[in-house]
């Protein structure tokens, strides 16, 4: 995938889709080197998310919190489906709740699953195989990083989770406005 296509995809997370291509075109035309280009992309995404956060922070935070709850319960349900049958086969059901409770810290190390989940809906509705492929690759890279080096640490994972929550909350916030 070319750098301009990646840049367009990153900007599409935060900007109105109809403005993305022309913005990337402006940054290409400026031609100030790759560092400036990618810094400009990152700053533009942050500026758009920050603008909506400042405009309606409570609603954005509410959306983010709701997404987090859905994610947490989904993760717990998947954990339960995965572990419960085998566990009940060899243990008493009284031991089940503490076992599930003890798996909660694993949320923090579930970056790839979270990323795939959080972007699955917009990707599937847009039917863009390119985006889906990007997120699958992102997930695989994340898993490899965790397995091989022990990083990302909890702090990095929490940072990514919070950023994703707000990017998603922003999308919902913007789409709600555009339908008003």
């Amino acid at each position: 995938m070319r750098k301009s296509a990646i840049a367009e995809w990153i900007l599409s997370l935060a900007m109105p889709p109809e403005h993305v291509a022309s913005t990337v075109g402006d940054l290409i035309e400026d031609n100030r080197g790759p560092l400036w280009f990618w810094t400009a992309i990152a700053r533009t995404v942050v500026a758009f998310v920050w603008r909506d956060l400042a405009a309606d922070g409570i609603r954005m935070a509410g959306n983010a919190l709701m997404d987090w709850c859905v994610y947490a319960f989904s993760f717990l349900a998947i954990q339960a489906l995965w572990h419960v049958p085998g566990f009940l086969w060899s243990h008493s059901y009284r031991e089940l709740l503490p076992k599930l409770w003890s798996s909660i810290p694993a949320y923090w190390n579930s970056g790839p699953m979270f990323l795939l989940w959080i972007f699955w809906f917009p990707v599937s509705t847009q039917s863009r195989g390119k985006e889906l492929l990007t997120w699958l690759v992102t997930g695989l890279v994340w898993i490899s990083l965790c397995g091989l080096t022990g990083v990302p640490t909890d702090g990095v994972t929490v940072g990514v989770v919070v950023l994703c929550l707000f990017v998603r909350a922003r999308r919902r916030f913007r789409s709600r406005i555009s339908h008003v």
Partner: protein, 110 residues
């Protein structure tokens, strides 16, 4: 009806688009602002401001033709709407009224 309020940077952007006429798009707007105000706005600040101004109906935009030096991407040209012209003129009239009779020490003409 409440008068439209404009932030300082919003006024700068509107005046720059008016100066540039038919040639106002992202790159030219940033360059023009840098030339006339001695500060170069970050792309993030400029695009969020343009987006907000468009949402408020103060500017309109249209796509030009794709060009090779932009990786085949079209320019988005901006124009100040009648509502935008009115808003910026009203704010500027206010500044002029405030400046009348004020002496700025060390400044030959305001």
């Amino acid at each position: 009806m409440q008068p439209i309020t404009l932030g300082e940077f919003e006024q700068v952007v509107l005046l720059t688009i008016l100066r540039l006429g038919d040639a106002a798009y992202g790159v030219s707007i940033r360059k023009e602002i840098a030339v006339h105000t001695d500060r170069e706005p970050s792309p993030g600040a400029l695009y969020t401001t343009l987006d907000r101004l468009e949402e408020r109906g103060l500017v309109t935009s249209s796509l030009g033709d794709p060009t090779p030096q932009r990786g085949g991407r079209a320019k988005r040209f901006f124009k100040v709407s009648a509502k935008g012209v009115e808003a910026v003129a009203r704010v500027q009239r206010g500044y002029r009224r405030l400046l009348q009779g004020v002496t700025l020490p060390g400044v030959s003409h305001a």
